[in-house]
């Protein structure tokens, strides 16, 4: 093996410039491939940032407007879910699939603490919400059963909102994303956990802060949580609920999910005297199928990027192939000599293939290296910024880098590419007849 590499080195050393020029095309191809895949990953990661923190076996349903007349009633009626729908969801009818059911009521209100305040949506929720949305508690606790039972006036705040109430107004200091340090207002900053146990005002009542959740810009988790029962009583919501959320099991394919949704929709719709197949009367957000679609989208994007990257690389491969053909042409006499003194065709093929693979791999790795660096730069610049849409921070790129798996795949691609590039030149070299050696130069 060492001898082969010495031979390759000797050959490449004699043609530095043209080897480098050709190699550049390969480097460029791999560079583009890595950067494209990195950017694609960043884009998908930005979409999925919220999704990653959410259980996929969760469905959320909410009332809508009927879109067709049914049972003597006109279309355009508002469907309001109520506790009987919750009971229906919990009932034997769906027991095969449905596990845990919670309902929520929400309102929007102004939250006040001292001189600071903000307006936001307040959700009356259940302890199970934490599991379903994978809410991360930074300090204190989430709602518990006792809060629900005793209609306690307790509240769980998102970190950002707590900061606002404490006067660490992060919104003014610009965009902030996970991984970035908080910009502190030198010295007078109060730690968010200091608000634990304090009383804040929501509407006309005081609530004790019991917990602080992690803010996640990508998902809408800057919701303020209070016990379901408390909110229902205070705001006189009666029996209506805003949405029903439940976990399920045993629905593993898209088809099974659709069938279940049909069944569920018709049951709920009929209860409200709406057409059983009226998709607008009842909105169903199925995170499982959503996730499936998201994954499919990710795969399509990934495949498309690979194809573009590989086609860019193709230019490099053709270049290497070309240069190897020239090399073979130049070395015809030498190969003749080698064959005359005992080199088999395979010995010659080996020489050319190894040279082709070496050129492709070496320059490919250079390209990969710079591609990785470019991804890191992307991560440090675009990856840290976000755009503000409707007062919410949306990240465009999150972690736009490629993993070890892509590096390994790219290595494989390079070796295959080098072999393909060397194939025809090597075949040509193997066909050199030993009589060439006798021909004077």
């Amino acid at each position: 093996m060492r001898d082969v590499f010495i031979e390759i080195w000797e050959s490449i050393r004699r043609n530095k410039l043209r080897t480098c020029l050709t190699g550049f095309a390969v480097s460029w191809g791999i560079f583009m491939l890595i950067v494209l895949l990195g950017a694609g990953n960043g884009l998908m990661n930005a979409f999925l940032v919220g999704g990653e923190g959410i259980s996929t076996n969760v469905m959320q349903v909410g009332g809508g407007w009927t879109s067709k007349p049914y049972d003597g009633l006109k279309e355009g009626r508002i469907i309001e879910l109520d506790e009987r729908d919750v009971a229906l969801t919990k009932s034997e009818v769906f027991a095969n699939h449905v596990d845990q059911v919670i309902s929520t009521v929400s309102t929007s209100a102004t939250v006040i603490y001292g001189k600071k305040h903000f307006s936001g949506s307040i959700e009356g929720s259940f302890p199970a919400r934490r599991q379903m949305d994978k809410i991360e508690i930074l300090y204190g606790r989430f709602l518990n059963e006792k809060d629900i039972k005793e209609n306690r006036k307790v509240v769980v705040l998102p970190e950002d909102q707590a900061e606002i109430l404490l006067g660490n107004d992060i919104r003014d200091t610009g965009a902030r994303l996970p991984g970035m340090k908080l910009n502190s207002n030198s010295g007078k900053k109060v730690r968010p956990q200091d608000i634990l146990g304090k009383y804040i005002r929501i509407g006309d009542f005081s609530y004790r802060v019991v917990g602080i959740t992690k803010t996640n810009d990508a998902s809408n988790s800057n919701t303020v949580y209070v016990p379901y029962t408390t909110l229902r009583v205070i705001y006189g919501k009666g029996r209506t609920v805003d949405d029903i959320t439940f976990t399920f099991h045993g629905l593993d394919s898209e088809k099974e999910n659709e069938a279940f949704e049909e069944q569920y929709r018709s049951a709920v719709n009929l209860r409200h005297r709406a057409a059983p197949d009226d998709r607008r009367a009842l909105w169903i957000w199925n995170r499982f199928t959503q996730n499936l679609q998201m994954n499919r989208g990710r795969n399509i994007l990934n495949t498309a990027l690979w194809i573009i990257g590989l086609f860019t690389l193709l230019g490099g491969i053709v270049g290497v192939s070309n240069i190897m053909l020239i090399t073979v042409k130049e070395r015809t006499h030498e190969f003749g000599i080698r064959k005359a003194i005992g080199a088999s065709p395979w010995d010659i093929v080996k020489l050319i293939l190894a040279e082709s693979v070496t050129i492709t791999a070496v320059f490919g790795y250079i390209g990969m290296f710079f591609g990785m660096i470019a991804c890191q730069i992307l991560d440090k610049t675009v990856g840290q910024s976000s755009v503000s849409i409707m007062d919410e921070q949306i990240a465009m790129f999150v972690n736009p880098t490629v993993g070890l798996d892509v590096a390994l795949e790219a290595t494989l691609v390079l070796i295959i590419a080098g072999t393909i590039a060397g194939f025809f030149p090597a075949r040509k070299a193997a066909q050199v007849r030993p009589i060439e050696a006798l021909r004077a130069e």
Binding site: R2, D3, E10, S11, R14, H333, E334, I337, R338, K339, A340, I341, G342, A343, S344, P345, W346, D347, R433, P434, I435, A437, L438, A440, E441
Partner: protein, 240 residues
């Protein structure tokens, strides 16, 4: 007999068929120092190619040491060339980007002999030919005579059964030509090496012990030249 050719025919089919070798019968014994002489177009190069297993023939039989050389695969032919035949070419055919010692090593490389061993062997052969000091030099740093001696070392290193020399002095001046022919004579005499020289120079042929004349693809006269008086200019004349 080391080499036996029986009714060997060869026709080239480039456009118009050209019958180059018209039934060659030839026997060369082990330890002989033979020259094949002929004008250009006589078929001597074709004969050399066939003897060196560089080319195949159409009909007849060619034996080296009793082994029929016919219809070999390329790999087999390469192996036979490597082990049985040492080539010396008119234009030396050293590989320009390899040093003298690396050139001499090359046949052993294709035998799969370990790096150290083949280097040591190559150095021995170079030393024998008085080129040990030039081992690390590249061919373009050496004189024609030196290059040809490196080529001879390369031909000898596998201890071949036959050494085939194609116009070995063709690119050398007369003084060096004499030296090279004396070297070949010495190898034949001392190592009992079978050497076949193809040439059109009578002076070169005169240095050999047997002269085979070939003309129009047919073996003509076979001269016993152990007295070295074949040259029209006599024994004392230079080759050129």
């Amino acid at each position: 007999m080391l080499i036996e050719l029986k009714d060997v025919n060869k026709t080239y089919n480039n456009g118009q068929p050209l019958h180059v070798l018209k039934g060659i019968d030839l026997s060369i014994d082990s330890g002989e120092f033979v020259s094949i002489m002929g004008a250009s177009g006589s078929g001597k190069s074709t004969l050399l190619n066939i003897l060196g297993i560089l080319d195949n023939y159409d009909s007849g039989e060619y034996y080296i040491d009793g082994k029929l050389i016919k219809g070999l695969s390329e790999r087999q032919a390469a192996d036979y060339r490597n082990r049985m035949i040492g080539f010396i070419f008119q234009s030396y055919n050293l590989i320009g980007f390899k040093t003298a010692v690396e050139n001499v090593e090359l046949p052993l490389f294709y035998q799969g002999i370990a790096r150290k061993k083949r280097h040591q062997m190559a150095m021995e052969y170079l030393d024998r030919l008085g080129l040990a000091d030039w081992a690390k030099h590249y061919p373009n740093e050496m004189s024609g005579g030196q290059k040809q001696r490196v080529a001879i070392a390369r031909a000898l290193i596998t201890s071949p059964r036959i050494v085939l020399a194609d116009e070995p002095t063709g690119a050398l001046d007369s003084k060096t030509s004499v030296e090279i022919m004396e070297l070949l004579q010495q190898l034949n005499r001392e190592d009992r090496m079978t050497i076949i020289v193809v040439t059109h120079e009578s002076g070169v042929a005169n240095a050999t012990n047997k002269i085979i004349h070939i003309k129009d693809g047919i073996i003509g006269q076979i001269e016993d030249n152990r007295q070295h008086h074949a040259s029209v200019f006599g024994t004392s004349t230079v080759m050129k």
